[in-house]
C-alpha cells in the first residue's frame, strides 16, 4: 500500500498506567477518504487511542503517524491537519459559543472575522445560530456537542477524530451527523470515529476494528465482519468478539 494513501498508521502502540495496560500493542492502518470505526466496550481503550493519535497523550511504546507525521515527534503539525470532537467536551463555561469559535480560529491562525462565513451553514443546520451569543455554561449536553463539532470541522481538516459523535444528540441531529460524515468522506476527508453504537458504525463506516481490553480482536470491512459472524447485525459480531453475551441471573 502506498505511503501517500495512508492517513493514519499505528504500529505496536502501547499505553501503560503502572500495572494497567490501556493499549497493548495496537497496529492498524486507515486510508485516506475512509470512515474508520473503532468499536469497543467501555474502558476498552478507544479514547486512549484517540488521545494518542491527537497528540495529547504520549504512548509508552510504539509509533503512530497521522497524515504522514509522527505524533510524538511533531504533534503540532498533526494538530494542524486534524479536527477533534471528544466524547464529553468540557468547554469554557464562561465564554459564549461565538467567543469560543473565535478563540479556536485565532489559535489556528485564522482571521476571527472570517468565522461567520465558515460556520454559517453549520450553525443553521445544527440550529445553533440563536445560541451562539449565550455562555456555554448554560448549554445542554447536545448543544455542547454541536458547538464542539463546529469547532472541530470549520477549519476543514484533512482528518477528523470523532469520539462518540452522537453522544447527547437527538435522532434528527444524529442523522445529520451521519450525512455529514458520509459527505465529508466523499470529498476525500478521512474520519476516525470511536463508538460503542454498532448501528451507527454499521451505517457510516467503510471499515471497522473492534478493540477489547487494549487489543484489536477483529477488523475488516463491515461486510467482512458480518460475514464472519454470520449475522446481519454488527452488534452480534461485536458481542461475540468481546467475550459473548452477559447472562443475567434471576434478578438481573
Amino acid at each position: 500500500m502506498g505511503e501517500r494513501k495512508k492517513a493514519i498508521e499505528v504500529s505496536g502502540l502501547v499505553k501503560r498506567y503502572d500495572d494497567l495496560v490501556a493499549l497493548g500493542g495496537v497496529s492498524l492502518v486507515v486510508n485516506r477518504g475512509e470512515v474508520f470505526g473503532l468499536l469497543g466496550s467501555n474502558g476498552a481503550g478507544k479514547t486512549t487511542m484517540i488521545h494518542v493519535l491527537t497528540g495529547i497523550l504520549t504512548p509508552t511504546e510504539g509509533t503512530a503517524r497521522v497524515a504522514g507525521v509522527d505524533v510524538v515527534r511533531d504533534p503540532l503539525e498533526v494538530k494542524r491537519r486534524i479536527g477533534y470532537l471528544p466524547e464529553t467536551p468540557a468547554l469554557y463555561d464562561r465564554l459564549t459559543g461565538m467567543e469560543y469559535l473565535q478563540l479556536i480560529a485565532g489559535l489556528r491562525g485564522m482571521d476571527p472575522r472570517s468565522i461567520d462565513g465558515r460556520i454559517g451553514r453549520f450553525s443553521e443546520n445544527l440550529d445553533m445560530t440563536r445560541h451562539l451569543h449565550l455562555r456555554m455554561g448554560a448549554y445542554s449536553k447536545g448543544m455542547k456537542q454541536k458547538i464542539s463539532f463546529m469547532a472541530a470541522v470549520f477549519h476543514r481538516p484533512d482528518i477528523l477524530f470523532l469520539d462518540e459523535p452522537t453522544s447527547g444528540l437527538d435522532p434528527r441531529y444524529s442523522e445529520y451527523m451521519k450525512d455529514f460524515i458520509r459527505g465529508y468522506s466523499k470529498k476525500g476527508g478521512t474520519v476516525f470515529l470511536s463508538t460503542h453504537y454498532t448501528s451507527f458504525a454499521q451505517n457510516v463506516c467503510t471499515r471497522v476494528a473492534v478493540i477489547h481490553r487494549g487489543g484489536v480482536v477483529g477488523r475488516g470491512t463491515v461486510e467482512d465482519m458480518l460475514a464472519k459472524s454470520g449475522t446481519v447485525d454488527l452488534a452480534h459480531a461485536f458481542i461475540e468478539l468481546t467475550g459473548g453475551p452477559i447472562h443475567t441471573g434471576d434478578r438481573g
Binding site: 503540532l76 494542524r80 465564554l95 478563540l103 479556536i104 485565532g106 489556528r108
Partner: protein, 497 residues
C-alpha cells in the same frame, strides 16, 4: 463517608504529586525549611534588637488575630469552593441523608487539614529552632489557644457563608447580626482585651456555639447550593462594561495565538470574579496604606521610635505592601493559570499552538492587569509621606522587578504543579502555595534588599540598582515562561480529563 472520601482524595493527591514531581516536591520542602530558617533568624534578630525604649516584643495578641483572620478567611473560601460551588455534590445531595451531614463532613475535613497543616508548620519551626539553637520565646498556653482558634475560625468560616445563602431576608439579617456580634466579641477577646482565667473557656464556648449552629441551618444548604450553581450564568452590568475594554488589557494590533489566549483568560477570569477579587485585595492594600498614614501621621511625628529608625517605618511598610500585592496579583494568579483550564485543557492541547505561546499569553494577561495596579500600590505612601524622588523611584522600579519575577515564578509553578480541581480554585495544595509565597519572599528580599543596601551608601546608586533589578526580574520571567512551557508540554490528557 464523605469525610473519609475527602481525606483519601487529599492523601492520594499529595502522594500523586510526590510521585509525579519528586524533584519539585523535594525542592519545595527544602525551600520551606530555608524560609523557616530565615524567618526564625529574623525573629531572633528582632527580639534582640533594642530599637525602642522597651525593646521590641513579639506581640502575641497581634499574632493571634492574624492567625485567626487567615484561618477564618480560608474557612470561608473553602466553604464556597467545597460546598456551594462544588458541582459533584449533586450526588450526595440526592442521597437519603440530611444536608447537614455533608456540611459536617466538609467542616471536619477542613478542620483536620488545618490541624495537620499548621501543626506540621509549628513542629517544623520548633525543630528548626532546635537545630539552629535560636529559641524564640513561645508564650505558655499557645498550643491550646491555637487549637481553640482553629476550631472557632473554621466553624465561623462555615457558618457565615451558610447564613449568606439564607433566602429569607429577615432571618438572614437577624442571623448575620448575631454571628457578626459573636465575631466582634471573638476578635476583641483574641486581640488581647482580656487574657484572664476565663479566656480559654470563653473561646471554647464561642467555638461550640458555632459548631452547634451549623446543623440548625440544614434547610438552607440545598437552596443555597442551587442558587450558587446558577450564578455563573448571570450577566452583570459590570461584566458588559469591562468586556468592552478587553482590548485595552489584551493589547491591540495584529491578532496572534498569544493574544487569543490572553483574551480568553481575561474573559474567563473576569466572569468568574477571580480577577475582581484580586484587584479588590490590591485596592484594600492601598486603602490600608492610606488609612495607616491618616492614623499615624508623618514619620517625623513618631514618638515611640528612635528618630534614626522612624524614617524606615513607612518604607518598610511599603515594601511589605508591594510584596503582598505582588504575591496576590502575580504569583497566585500565575499559580492557577494553567489549572484554571480544568477539563477544558484539551481545547488548547489539541490546537496547533506551541506551549510557549500559551504560557506567554497567560503571562501577558497577568502582567497587563497587574502592573498598573502594582504601580498604584507603590505610590500612595511616598506621596503622602513626601518621600524624596529617588526613594519614590526606587519603589516604583522595585515594584516592576517584583512583578516580573513573581509572574515568572507563578507561571512556572502553575504549569509544573497544575491543579485542575475547580473546588480548589485551581490552586495547588496549601503547602505548595506556602512554598511559593516563601520563595517570593526570598526573591523580594534579594530584589528589594540589595538595592536598598546600595541606597544606604548612595541614594542614586540605589535607584540604578533597582533599575538593574528589573533586568533580573525580566530574566526570572523569561525563565518562568521557558520552563513553564516545557512543563505545559508534558501535561498528559489523563491528568485533566
Amino acid at each position: 463517608m464523605i469525610l473519609g472520601a475527602d481525606l483519601i482524595t487529599a492523601r492520594r493527591h499529595l502522594w500523586h504529586r510526590f510521585k509525579t514531581h519528586p524533584f519539585v516536591s523535594i525542592m519545595f520542602f527544602f525551600t520551606t525549611l530555608v524560609t523557616l530558617t530565615m524567618a526564625i533568624q529574623i525573629l531572633y534578630f528582632l527580639n534582640r534588637m533594642d530599637w525602642t525604649d522597651s525593646g521590641l516584643q513579639l506581640d502575641r495578641p497581634l499574632t493571634a488575630v492574624l492567625f485567626f483572620s487567615v484561618v477564618l478567611a480560608r474557612g470561608m473560601m473553602n466553604t464556597y469552593r467545597k460546598l456551594f460551588e462544588a458541582r459533584e455534590l449533586l450526588v450526595p445531595f440526592s442521597m437519603p441523608i440530611r444536608p447537614r451531614e455533608i456540611v459536617k463532613a466538609k467542616f471536619l475535613g477542613n478542620l483536620v487539614y488545618s490541624v495537620v497543616l499548621y501543626g506540621t508548620l509549628f513542629l517544623m519551626t520548633l525543630a528548626m529552632m532546635g537545630a539552629l539553637g535560636h529559641w524564640v520565646w513561645i508564650p505558655p498556653g499557645i498550643l491550646l489557644e491555637g487549637i481553640l482558634l482553629l476550631v472557632l475560625a473554621n466553624a465561623m468560616g462555615f457558618v457565615f457563608p451558610l447564613i449568606l445563602q439564607i433566602r429569607n431576608r429577615t432571618r438572614k439579617n437577624r442571623s448575620l447580626a448575631l454571628a457578626g456580634t459573636l465575631l466582634l466579641i471573638s476578635m476583641v477577646l483574641v486581640q488581647g482585651a482580656y487574657r484572664g482565667l476565663l479566656y480559654y473557656p470563653t473561646l471554647g464556648l464561642l467555638a461550640v456555639s458555632f459548631v452547634v449552629w451549623m446543623p440548625l441551618l440544614d434547610g438552607d444548604i440545598i437552596p443555597g447550593w442551587l442558587w450558587q450553581q446558577s450564578k455563573p450564568f448571570r450577566v452583570l452590568w459590570l461584566d458588559r462594561r469591562v468586556d468592552r475594554r478587553g482590548g485595552l488589557i489584551t493589547g491591540s494590533g495584529r491578532w496572534s495565538g498569544e493574544r487569543f489566549v490572553s483574551r480568553k483568560d481575561y474573559l474567563v477570569l473576569l466572569r468568574q470574579r477571580d480577577m475582581m477579587a484580586v484587584l479588590f485585595s490590591s485596592v484594600m492594600i492601598m486603602a490600608v496604606q492610606v488609612g495607616l498614614y491618616m492614623f499615624m501621621g508623618p514619620h517625623s511625628g513618631f514618638e515611640n521610635v528612635e528618630p534614626e529608625y522612624s524614617k524606615y517605618v513607612y518604607p518598610l511598610f511599603l515594601a511589605l505592601s508591594i510584596y503582598l500585592a505582588g504575591v496576590l496579583q502575580f504569583a497566585l494568579l500565575g499559580l492557577s493559570s494553567v489549572g484554571m483550564e480544568g477539563r477544558s485543557l484539551w481545547i488548547l492541547k489539541t490546537q496547533p499552538v506551541e506551549a510557549v505561546t500559551v504560557v506567554r499569553g497567560k503571562a501577558r494577561l497577568i502582567l497587563a492587569v497587574g502592573l498598573p495596579v502594582m504601580l498604584l500600590v507603590a505610590l500612595p505612601l511616598p506621596l503622602l509621606d513626601g518621600m524624596p524622588l529617588p526613594v519614590t523611584l526606587f519603589f516604583l522600579l522595585s515594584s516592576v522587578s517584583l512583578s516580573l519575577a513573581f509572574t515568572g515564578i507563578g507561571i512556572w509553578s502553575g504549569a509544573r504543579l497544575p491543579n485542575f480541581d475547580e473546588t480548589m480554585k485551581y490552586l495547588p495544595d496549601l503547602m505548595a502555595q506556602f512554598t511559593i509565597v516563601f520563595l517570593c519572599l526570598f526573591i523580594a528580599l534579594v530584589l528589594l534588599g540589595i538595592p536598598a543596601a546600595v541606597m544606604r551608601l548612595d541614594t542614586w546608586a540605589g535607584v540604578v540598582a533597582a533599575a538593574v533589578g528589573i533586568g533580573w526580574g525580566y530574566t526570572a520571567l523569561l525563565w518562568g515562561i521557558r520552563w513553564g512551557a516545557v512543563a505545559f508540554e508534558r501535561i498528559q490528557s489523563d491528568e485533566y480529563l
